[in-house]
Amino acid sequence: MAHSGTEKQVLTAREAGLLGCGTCGRVSPKGTTVCPRCETPLHSRRPGSIEKVWAWWLAGIFAYIPANLYPMLRTSFLGREQDSTIVGGVIDLIHHGSFLIAAIVFFASVIIPVSKFFAVGYLAWTVKGRAHISEHQRTVLYEVVEFVGRWSMIDVFVVAVLAALVNLGFVVNFKPGIAAFFFALSVAFTMISALSLDPRLIWDNSTGDGASDE
């Protein structure tokens, strides 16, 4: 890589015998326990970071399974009741011809959670082993995962709005299904999992050229 030369020269706070705050970036002398700038506990690397990532990651996957098996929404339309799961709801939207909205819901409820499991798992796995993509790309992946995670909650909010708003007697009614509960749990667990990852760990074994050939 073109800038491998400069990367090798960079000194980290840890190598310099200093403590860099993971919240505000302030540099403190070794032995400082609380950051004087933001008052968070100081750690060169957050202790138990990877273990916490894996624990919440597993919890997130366990909650995601019932979230997909049980109904998310019970619709009664002109006296007929129908249960729909997350994927079922997307298929309904496609049948109605709302392709854009079907795409948004599918993206928020299926693509984001599933790719988040893969992404967080990959990041935690490659902290101690070999990675096929550079530290730079893994940092981008980490930032994307952190940013998009909460948007998975869209479907839970959709169910809430439908159930609260649509109460038109015999014509049409919506009731929330138990899957909404598991889905919200899954989103929260995966968010905590991603937040537990100390991004500095991604860079600790940096070889400078971003590849895994060392």
Binding site: R26, V27, F77, L165, W203
Partner: protein, 224 residues
Amino acid sequence: MTAIMAGPVVEGAPHDHDVNEDGELIACVVCDALHTVPTIPPKAALRCVRCGNVLLRSPGPALDRILASAFTTVILVVSALFFPFLQISASGFTSATTLVETAFAFKGGLTTPLTFVLIFTIIVLPIIRALALTWAVMPIRLNLRPLPQAKAAFRLANLLRPWSMIEVFIVGVVVALVKIGGMAKVGLGLAFWELLLILIIVILEATSLCEKTIWRILERKSRY
């Protein structure tokens, strides 16, 4: 916004002076690389030489945006609490919903715990976060000494950031509207447009807030 590079601290450079005043150092929160902090010109962002993450920004309009976002969030969330923000009608039936009614949609049965999730993510946490941000940032904007517990307030605001989901909720409202579209006639209350306004302002705030920059200002203002 122009990007300027911070000076990387190379092997062997002296680092035993006061690391937070002259020749101030900052460590990248993403990769731990050490940098010396130069004077940051207006509208500039200081980037890490190793990973490219923003180390510090010149505050610019960020403080104003944070405050604007906090004010609108409080005013609009509070006003959507009890006024209907959506109304629909079909075959002579009408129904409407407020933010509070929506939060209670999961009441009853096995989904009851979700009621708390909704109350917190779309009502309580956005309001607490907006108040905490105002408490921490307002005095800085007015060039005054920070209020007592300003640091605690800013820490709380950052802690709540991922869990305050009003903008996610607004997108959920739009999706719900499309789902209903085929079955009933939808009327958009004033509060709906207010919610849409929050969406824009909150996203604007999220893109301009640099936590590390505010921390640095808070530390300096508390000292003098």
